[in-house]
Symmetry: C2
Subunit: 278 residues, 2 copies
């Protein structure tokens, strides 16, 4: 389960929630793009890449490492997350990168600016994702590629199926819907691309999974989700939309702690992936 910075969510992530976001890299979250990226890099080491909805920038920074002679731009609708992204880049000693504020629906770039335009766990949170894809297509060069990877939250499976975790799953789906998003994004990615004006032959469609099941992975996942339930923007938003009570959130957090201690515990979700050849 991966949750990007969604528009309007404040960036006051407690540390464990930040860890849950920031373990993500191009290798974990853009594997379907990397063979194409490396192939393009052979012909042009100076590739430009736009990471839309970059959040705290760990994926952007890992792209910058893969393209040392290229240039990465990370953009996020939430300006408050950008100092964190900048800090992540500085800590990694990365210079070929910049972060900007902007909306996926109105990217502040001229037509055909980037060789590669990428997003992950962004389209799931927004209404009319086909308009966002159309905008990503606009800023991508001819012969460039657009890559998106979005979870299909309806496929999330959790074991053991503790009742409070089933409630948590419904809470998160409700939060996505309350913001205009579509929890079953993964299965719809192709249809969104076609609605954005892409032809089927331009699209390579694939599926992968994200999961937590090792002792270390369970701990990172549980601590991150417990912090979201006990404080921070997700909790505030859920209370505001009447999606649960403080007592219920505490019960869910305790269930995640119980889950993390179980040897047979797992959490997995199917991810939809598209690669569009412009």
């Amino acid at each position: 389960m991966e949750h990007d910075q969604s528009p309007g969510e404040p960036p006051n992530h407690p540390p464990a929630q930040a860890t849950l976001h920031e373990i993500r890299t191009a290798e974990t979250s853009a594997a379907h793009l990397l063979p194409k990226l490396h192939s393009m890099k052979e012909f042009n080491p100076h590739l430009t890449l736009l990471d839309v909805g970059c959040g705290s920038g760990t994926i952007s920074v890992s792209f910058a490492k893969l393209l040392p002679d290229g240039y990465i731009t990370g953009i996020d609708v939430n300006p408050k997350i950008l100092p964190r992204a900048q800090a992540v880049a500085e800590t990694a000693g990365i210079k070929n990168i910049e972060f900007k504020q902007g909306s996926i629906f109105q990217l502040p770039f001229a037509d055909e600016t980037f060789d590669i335009t990428y997003c992950h766990q962004v389209l799931i949170h927004i209404g009319s994702p086909w308009d966002a894809l159309r905008e990503m297509l606009r800023v991508t060069k001819r012969s460039g590629v657009i890559a998106a990877r979005e979870g299909d939250y309806e496929t999330e499976c959790i074991w053991p199926e503790l009742p409070e975790l089933v409630k948590f799953h419904k809470l998160m789906a409700g939060l996505m819907r309350s913001g205009g998003g579509a929890p079953a994004a993964g299965r719809q990615l192709l249809s969104w691309a076609l609605r954005a004006g892409v032809e089927r032959r331009q699209v390579t469609l694939s599926y992968s999974t994200s999961s937590y099941n090792t002792p270390g992975g369970r701990k990172i996942c549980s601590q991150g989700l417990c912090e979201q339930l006990r404080g921070g923007g997700l909790r505030e938003k859920a209370l505001k939309f009447g999606l649960g009570t403080e007592n219920e959130f505490e019960e869910m957090a305790q269930a995640w702690e119980e889950w993390a201690e179980k040897e047979d515990a797992m959490l997995a979700m199917l991810q939809g992936e598209i690669l569009i050849q412009k």
Copy 2:
């Protein structure tokens, strides 16, 4: 979506349904095992491998190709499928293989017979899968490995979500349950292995996906499922258990035909995978 030969299902597969089964190989359905298999083969080219629930034998035959100096045994509870498996091996010119009838709960082999014991889409169909895994452990040599890959049918996603396809999904889940199986197998694989007496540290857990979305893939999938709905063992079993009417099955088949013609159509499912180091 992959459906193995389940116990009691007659092997009178019409041609398109056979195609849907027989496109499967070790590469498509045992990718989590292959690095270990190749590593073991470096030390011992004469590996013995048991494929439990081999059905029409296409996966077994591809294992035989990967282990030309090894020996493959395919076993299935249904004796009527074995001539088809034998024909698949003969057509491929494969000699280092044999097929036998037998139950996963009482494998007709001495303790510690095989280097590798494998099953795919078998545990999902049976009650007490932990007993089956215990039996697979028994026939595996010390330092050997047991590999299983099972779909999590509850994660199956279909787009577009035509109402008759949603009904079809429920029909298939009902069929699995009517035979004592657990449609949400993928998420439970680890818990089943622990219940079979395995320690957590012995298990490598991974997840992958199976999907159909290209024109060719959609055609194979649709034709195979239409044939299952219009004739053969699945239809007979569903009628016997009162899980639907002939009219409903015809409507579902027509919906699969409609689905196959749609450019944005997809079907995907999460697969659970375990590799147990004995």
